[in-house]
C-alpha cells in the first residue's frame, strides 16, 4: 500500500519534472544554463528513484547456460566489473549444496565436448569439476539393430586425449557457481520467478509522451523493467533469457518459435556394472537409440529414447525386468551383432595408409548391466528453434533458444557455445563504449550462433529421421554409412572434430 502511494507520488513528481523539462527545452537558452538546470533535475530524479535496483545484466534462469554466462562474464577482463542479477527460484543456487562423493550418481548427466571443456578451463571452472566425480571417455561405438555395420571412434584418431566427458548436472552447476563466487564478481541472486517484463521502446520522441509509464526517471525509462514474483522490480540494461525450453522470457518478449514434437520420450537412469566401463555406446533400435555413458566408479548412465507408450510401460515395470530389458536392448535383442569385418580392407585398401586407430578394432559387446542404481526419469522430446535470438534489450541463450534430440549429446554444448559467444560480444561492446542492450550488438551474437545451431540441428534431425525408418534398402544404406564412417579416415576425423565442437561445419573444412 505504502509502496503504491510512494510510486504514485514519484510519478507525479516526475511528471512535473518532465513538464518543466519540456518547457525549458522549447525556449531558446544558453547552453550553459540549460545544462545546469538539467543536472539539477537529474539529481532530484536520482534521489527519488533509489528504491528500484538497477543492473547491467539480468540473467533469467540460473541453470547450465545462465550460470555459464555468469561464469564467463566473471572471467573476462572487460566484463568482470558488471553488475549482474540472476533470477532463479531453484533453492540450489542460494545454499551451497554439499555433494557427497558416496552418493550414487544422479541420473541427470550431461556430456561435455572438448570444446566446452576448453571454455570452462579458460574460465577457471573446470578445476572444480575435476575435484568431483566425472568420467572422460576416449572410445565410442555406434551400431544398429540390423547388425549390418558398426563404427568405432577413438580419441587417438584425431590425436586427442578424450572424446568427451560425462558430468552430473549438479556437479557442473556447483562448479560454475563456485567459480563465480571465488571471483569478486558482483552478482545478486533473486530466488524468485519472473512474472512480467517491460522493454521500453527506443523512440526519442518528446518526453511528454512517457507520462503513462510507471518508471520513475527518464534514465531508467530506457531500461528493461522486470517484475518478480514477490512484487519487487529490477531494472536491467540487458535481459538474458536462459530459462530453458519453456522460457518465460521468450514468451514475454514475443519471440516466435518453430517447433514440433518427436512423439518420443526419453528414459534416463543410472545403472551399475561389475566392471569399469570406459567407452560410450550407442545402439539404434527401431523405436529410438539407447545410449550407455560411463560416469565413473563402475556406474553408467542410460539414455533410452522410445515411443510414449513404451516409455510408460518401461517406467512402471520392476527393476529386474527393466535391467533385463536394458541388457537385451544393448546386446542380444532386436537383431544380431555386427560382424567385425576387417577384411573389407580390399575395398578401401587404398586408404589403409592413413587408417585411423579405431578402424582396426573389433566390435565389442557393451558391459552387462547388473543393477539399477537410481529412479527412472522420463522426458518428452521435442525440437524447438526460436526465429530470432535477440531484440532490443533481450537475448536468448541455451534451451530457451533451441532444443534438440539427445542422440548426440549436443544440446547443452550448444548452450555453452551460446553463453561463450554472448560473453565475448558483450566484452567487445563494452570495449567500444556501446550500450550493451543495443540491437546491432545483439544481432552480431545471433549471426554468429544461429547458423551453427541450425546446422547442428539439421544434422541431428537427419540422423533421427534416418534411423527411425525400418525399410530394407534404407537399412543397407545405413550399414554402408556405418562402414564408410568406420573405414574412411578423413570422414571419421571430420565427424569426431565436428562432434567435439572443434569444427564449424560437418564437412568441407
Amino acid at each position: 500500500m505504502n509502496r503504491m502511494l510512494a510510486r504514485r507520488l514519484v510519478t507525479n513528481v516526475s511528471r512535473m519534472n518532465v513538464l518543466m523539462k519540456s518547457f525549458s527545452t522549447q525556449v531558446a537558452e544558453d547552453a550553459g544554463s540549460l545544462n545546469e538546470k538539467l543536472s539539477k533535475e537529474h539529481e532530484k530524479k536520482q534521489t527519488i528513484s533509489n528504491n528500484i535496483q538497477q543492473y547491467d545484466v539480468a540473467i533469467v534462469g540460473g541453470g547450465m547456460a545462465g550460470m555459464a554466462l555468469a561464469c564467463f562474464l566473471a572471467s573476462l577482463p572487460m566484463t568482470k566489473q558488471l553488475n549482474v542479477a540472476i533470477i532463479d527460484s531453484n533453492p540450489a543456487l542460494g545454499s551451497r549444496l554439499c555433494i557427497k562423493k558416496d552418493d550414487p550418481p544422479d541420473p541427470r548427466v550431461i556430456t561435455v565436448t572438448p570444446a566446452t571443456i576448453s571454455f570452462l578451463r579458460d574460465a577457471g571452472a573446470w578445476q572444480y569439476v575435476e575435484q568431483s566425480r566425472h568420467a572422460s571417455f576416449n572410445k565410442m561405438q555406434v551400431w544398429d539393430y540390423t547388425g549390418l555395420g558398426y563404427t568405432r571412434y577413438d580419441a587417438r584418431d584425431v590425436n586427442k586425449e578424450v572424446l568427451g566427458c560425462v558430468v552430473e548436472n549438479k556437479v557442473l552447476h556447483s562448479a560454475l557457481l563456485s567459480r563465480v563466487e571465488a571471483t569478486d564478481f558482483q552478482k545478486t541472486i533473486y530466488p524468485l520467478r519472473l512474472t512480467s517484463m517491460t522493454l521500453q521502446p527506443s523512440s526519442t520522441s518528446t518526453v511528454v509522451d512517457k507520462f503513462s509509464s510507471t518508471a520513475s526517471s527518464s534514465a531508467q525509462r530506457n531500461l528493461a523493467k522486470l517484475e518478480l514474483s514477490d512484487g519487487s522490480s529490477i531494472y536491467a540494461k540487458l535481459v538474458v533469457g536462459a530459462d530453458g525450453g519453456k522460457s518465460r522470457v521468450r514468451e514475454l518478449a514475443g519471440f516466435k518459435t518453430t517447433e514440433w514434437n518427436y512423439s518420443q520420450n526419453a528414459i534416463i537412469c543410472t545403472v551399475e556394472h561389475s566392471i569399469e566401463n570406459q567407452c560410450a555406446w550407442q545402439r539404434f533400435l527401431p523405436s529410438g537409440p539407447i545410449a550407455l555413458l560411463p560416469i565413473g566408479d563402475k556406474y553408467s548412465n542410460i539414455v533410452w529414447t522410445m515411443s510414449p507408450s513404451e516409455s510408460g510401460h518401461r517406467k512402471s515395470m520392476n527393476d529386474d525386468d527393466f535391467v533385463e530389458d536394458v541388457n537385451r536392448a544393448l546386446d542380444y535383442g532386436y537383431g544380431p551383432h555386427p560382424k567385425s569385418s576387417l577384411g573389407t580392407g580390399d575395398l578401401f585398401s587404398w586408404l589403409n595408409m592413413d587408417s585411423t586407430f579405431s578402424a582396426n578394432q573389433f566390435f565389442e559387446i557393451p558391459p552387462k548391466v547388473v543393477k539399477l542404481a537410481s529412479q527412472r526419469m522420463v522426458f518428452r522430446l521435442s525440437l524447438r528453434h526460436v526465429n530470432t535470438y535477440a531484440s532490443k534489450r533481450v537475448v536468448l541463450i541455451g534451451d530457451a533458444a533451441h532444443t534438440v534430440h539427445p542422440l548426440a549429446g549436443q544440446g547443452v554444448n550448444l548452450g555453452f557455445g551460446d553463453a561463450f559467444t554472448l560473453s565475448k560480444i558483450i566484452a567487445e561492446g563494452i570495449a567500444l563504449g556501446n550500450d550493451i542492450g543495443e540491437v546491432h550488438l545483439l544481432k552480431r551474437y545471433e549471426t554468429e550462433r544461429k547458423p551453427a545451431n541450425i546446422m547442428m540441428m539439421a544434422v541431428l534431425e537427419s540422423f533421427q529421421k534416418a534411423y527411425t525408418i525400418d525399410f530394407g534398402p534404407l537399412n543397407v544404406l545405413r550399414a554402408a554409412a556405418f562402414h564408410g564412417a568406420n573405414y574412411i579416415s578423413p570422414l571419421k576425423r571430420s565427424i569426431i572434430s565436428y562432434a567435439s565442437g572443434d569444427q564449424k561445419l560437418p564437412l568441407f573444412t
Binding site: H42, M78, N434
Partner: protein, 326 residues
C-alpha cells in the same frame, strides 16, 4: 545525372582545376598545385560498386567574417557551397528526429560507428599511454566532438570514461543528442553546445583530443577549419579527422551508389569537389602544425554487412595526428 557527372568532370579539367585549387588552398606553394594536379588526373581505375557509407553528420563551420575575403576569390564555388550548406542544414534538421533510430536514415552511420571507434580507441590509448584492457581507458581525457550530430560518437566516448563536449551547428541535433544522452547516467555528463569550432577557439577552450569525423567535407574552408581544430588542441594533444577521398571510386560509391541507387543518404549530401585526398589532408594539417601519425581506411563487406579497418584509403579514411608541442 549524367549531365551532373559531365559538369563536374568539365569543372575538373584544365585551367578550371588550377583556378579551383588556388581558391581552395590559397596559401599553398607553387609546388603543391602540380602535386595536386597529378592527383586529380590519377583517378582510381577500379569502379567496383561496393556500397560505402559516408556518414551524414551535420555540416559545420560557417565561415567567419575574417575568412570571407578569401572565400570571395572563387565567387562561384563559394556561393554554391554556402547555399548548399543552408540546404544541407535544412535537410539534416528535417531528419534529425531519426538520429537514434538504428534502422532509419542514419543506419549506415550506426553500422560504421564501432569500426571508427576501434581506430579512435587504439590510437588514443597508444598516444596517451592508457591501458587498452580497461573498460574505461579514456578516463581523465577531455575530448571535443566537432559536428557531433545526435551524439553517435560522443556517447561511446563518454562510456569509455572520457569527459566529452559535443558541438554542432544545428540546434535540433543538439536537442536530440541531449535527450538521448540523458537516458543513461553515464552519458548524461556529456556537455552539448550549439556552436562552432571557431567560437570555441574564441572562448579559449582546450582539449586533449579533438574529433572531427565526417565533418571536413561539409566545410567551406578546410584549411581554416584545421587551424581551428589545432587551436582547440593542447600541445601534444590528438586530432582525429575522418572524411571521404576525392577519387573516382569514392564518387561511384559514396555519391552515386549511396545517394542515388541505395538511397542510404539524401541526394546532395556530399559534393565530390569538397572531398579531400589523404595527401591534401596531411598537407593542410601540417600547415596547422598537426603531424599525421596514423591513417587507415574503412571498407565495407556487403556479404557480412560490416565495416572493417584496412589500408585501402580510396573511399573512406580516417587520420590521427598530434599537435606539435613546439
Amino acid at each position: 545525372m549524367a549531365s551532373k557527372l559531365s559538369y563536374q568532370l568539365r569543372n575538373q579539367t584544365g585551367a578550371a582545376i588550377r583556378r579551383f585549387l588556388l581558391h581552395r588552398f590559397p596559401n599553398s606553394s607553387a609546388a603543391t598545385p602540380s602535386l595536386l594536379g597529378i592527383r586529380c588526373f590519377s583517378y582510381g581505375s577500379s569502379q567496383t560498386v561496393s556500397p560505402i557509407d559516408p556518414s551524414a553528420s551535420s555540416p559545420q563551420e560557417l565561415p567567419q567574417p575574417r575568412t570571407s575575403p578569401k572565400v570571395e576569390l572563387g565567387a562561384a564555388s563559394a556561393s554554391t557551397s554556402s547555399s548548399l550548406k543552408e540546404n544541407e542544414l535544412a535537410k539534416f534538421a528535417a531528419i534529425s528526429e531519426t538520429w537514434w533510430d538504428s534502422d532509419g536514415p542514419f543506419k549506415p552511420l550506426h553500422v560504421m560507428n564501432p569500426t571508427r571507434l576501434a581506430f579512435v580507441r587504439s590510437t588514443l590509448c597508444r598516444h596517451f599511454k592508457k591501458d587498452p584492457c580497461s573498460a574505461r581507458p579514456l578516463e581523465g581525457l577531455k575530448i571535443v566532438d566537432v559536428g557531433c550530430g545526435g551524439g553517435i560518437l560522443s556517447e561511446p566516448l563518454a562510456r569509455m570514461g572520457a569527459t566529452v563536449t559535443g558541438v554542432d551547428a544545428v540546434e535540433k541535433n543538439i536537442r536530440i543528442a541531449r535527450v538521448h544522452a540523458d537516458l543513461d547516467p553515464v552519458t548524461s555528463t556529456i556537455e552539448y553546445c550549439c556552436t562552432t569550432a571557431e567560437k570555441l577557439v574564441e572562448e579559449g577552450r582546450k582539449f586533449d583530443a579533438v574529433m572531427a569525423l565526417e565533418v571536413i567535407e561539409h566545410v567551406a574552408d578546410p584549411a581554416e577549419f584545421c587551424k581551428s581544430l589545432a587551436a582547440l588542441t593542447v600541445p601534444d594533444g590528438a586530432t582525429v579527422i575522418s572524411t571521404i577521398n576525392r577519387s573516382m571510386r569514392a564518387y561511384a560509391t559514396a555519391i552515386f551508389a549511396a545517394e542515388y541507387i541505395l538511397r542510404w543518404l539524401p541526394k546532395g549530401t556530399h559534393q565530390w569537389s569538397s572531398f579531400l585526398t589523404p595527401e591534401e589532408l596531411v598537407l593542410i594539417l601540417q600547415r596547422a602544425n598537426i603531424n599525421v601519425k596514423e591513417m587507415a581506411g574503412f571498407v565495407y563487406n556487403p556479404l557480412t554487412g560490416r565495416w572493417y579497418l584496412s589500408d585501402d584509403v580510396s573511399v573512406n579514411f580516417i587520420a590521427f595526428g598530434t599537435l606539435d608541442s613546439a
